[in-house]
């Protein structure tokens, strides 16, 4: 099995003494789903944002899809990674001045230099997969949060990425809208997409993930299979966190 992401000793500090990432190492293999959990401010968002170069780090090395980057943050290499890695954000971050279909075809046309018609055709296919092809001509502001997030997933898929990053994709949604997004993500996982997902959704993690990584204060506390993590977590702090999550 081919490793997609290999991180070695990633370290990032904001101010002296306060570390967003503290010696984080991990490996994600092709076709696997890694769920990252942890309390807020634990560095999980920072971690997955380093994987497509939205965040820099001070020490350690990172290998994404065979492209190695280090603390020098080489722009050209990061650009190469971004063309092959998709990302879905907590706040959707759709472009409000472009229609749904234009949001999706933007990157294929301007980054991959594909033909407009071809990109639109593929975009409609993706929207169909997400069950929102009827909204193609609308603008982001006219859609509900769940629909917007599915558009965001389709936009990330439009570049045919080899890895998808999800940064708390359901945290900004109304409770009754969460499942439509999670279902779309489940389908992607079944199709064999490699995914790294920051989320608090225990059900999703249990069903879909191959590994759960638990972080606190920038450190990896434990990495286990979901079975072990949710029934019999090794670490005291993980158990505490899970208890609190279940109370809510």
């Amino acid at each position: 099995m081919e490793p997609i992401v290999i991180a070695k000793n990633l370290t990032k500090s904001y101010i002296q003494g306060l570390r967003a990432l503290d010696n984080v190492s991990l490996t994600v293999n092709q076709g696997k789903v890694l769920v990252v959990m942890g309390p807020s401010g634990s560095g999980k968002s920072t971690l997955i944002r380093t994987f497509n170069g939205l965040e820099t780090f001070d020490r350690g090395e990172l290998n994404v899809l065979g492209i190695k980057i280090d603390a020098t943050h080489n722009e050209r290499k990061i650009q190469k990674i971004r063309k092959r890695v998709g990302m879905v954000f907590q706040q959707f971050n759709l472009f409000p001045h472009l229609s749904i279909l234009e949001n999706i075809t933007l990157a294929p046309v301007h980054v991959q230099k594909r033909h407009q018609l071809e990109a639109e055709e593929y975009g409609m296919y993706l929207l169909n997969q997400m069950g929102i092809d009827s909204h193609a001509k609308k603008y982001p502001g006219q859609l509900s949060g769940g629909e917007q997030q599915r558009v965001a997933i389709a936009r990330a898929l439009a570049l045919k990425p080899e890895l998808l990053l999800f940064d708390e994709p359901t945290s900004a949604l109304d409770p009754e809208r969460i499942n439509e997004v999670l279902d779309a993500m489940r389908r992607l996982a079944k199709q064999g997409m490699t995914m790294i997902v920051v989320t608090h959704e225990i059900g999703f993690a249990k069903d879909v993930s191959d590994q759960v990584l638990f972080m606190d204060s920038g450190k990896v506390i434990e990495t286990s299979t979901p079975d072990v993590f949710f029934s019999n977590a090794k670490h005291e702090r993980s158990r505490k966190f899970l208890n609190q999550l279940e109370k809510h």
Binding site: N52, G53, L54, Y139
Partner: protein
Amino acid sequence: MKLYSIMIFFKKLKKNIFLNFFNTILSLVILLTTLLVCLNTFRWFIFNADWRVVTSNLSLYAFGSFPSDEQWRPAIWITSLLLLSIITLCGPCWKWIQQNLLLAWMSTIPLGLYLLYGGFGLSPIMSRHLGGLTLTILLTVCSSLLSLPFGIVLALGRQSSLPLIQKLSSIYIDVMRAIPLIAVLFFGQLLIPLFLPVGIEIDRVWRAIFAFTLFVSAYIAEDIRGGLQSIPNTQIEAAHSLGLNQYQIMQLIIIPQALRIALPALTNQAIGLFQNTSLMAILGLVELLGIGRSILANPEFIGQYIEVYVWLACVYWLVCTIMAILARHLEQTMTINQTNF
């Protein structure tokens, strides 16, 4: 049914106008004064005013001293602008019209320049023959069109991470915004010739357009900077994560959004510019106000200030109102599409 709605009307009237004793008195006083003012104005309009100063000079107000057998050219231009406004506002929603409106608006500028200056089959006309409303519109259209790209560049320059560019744009914008327009226009008329190499000359109209562009672009830059600053950083992150490069992000994500956010401010600038073209009357161009002044200097019409100024005020007010309605229409079509804006 009808009675009921009349009752509602009076109830509303009571609530809004005759709320309490003080308000009732106030309302009555206002009503009375308004009535008196309206009556007097009306009487003056019909009996006292001598409208020949307007009616016998209509072509002067519209076209200035444009050769009389060529006046159909500016007439066509102004009519096409008017027609286009009407079509934009209340034209049918046929798809091909909606799609080609922007193109039509853009093409009015080369059309206007061709019709006014001639060449290619039309007899050429010198700038000094331009005047009246035609000149006012020409100054407005050309200056606003030229100052938009310049303003965008300045706004981006002021946001730039390169300290030298940032400083230069900031100094330009701040200095321009500190000095009065008339000084800049004066600079355009008197000083630009001094800065040009010997032998090269630009005519007065284009010197004015140049000066207006220098001035307005500084204001436009600040409006656009406001738009740029209100675009959240997450938009840029999302664009980065899609692999777009710096220039693509600027061109596809940031500038279009900034322009849309700045749109109300920009249309206000255009309306302000239209009014400010009247300053050229002081500096010797016979645009709408200038032609009014030269008509007043004619012994035949001497002293008829009220008629001329009331007439000019009506024309300025009408054009400004049309511009404002067009601007609001534009804003609305944008917000219908994008509820987040």
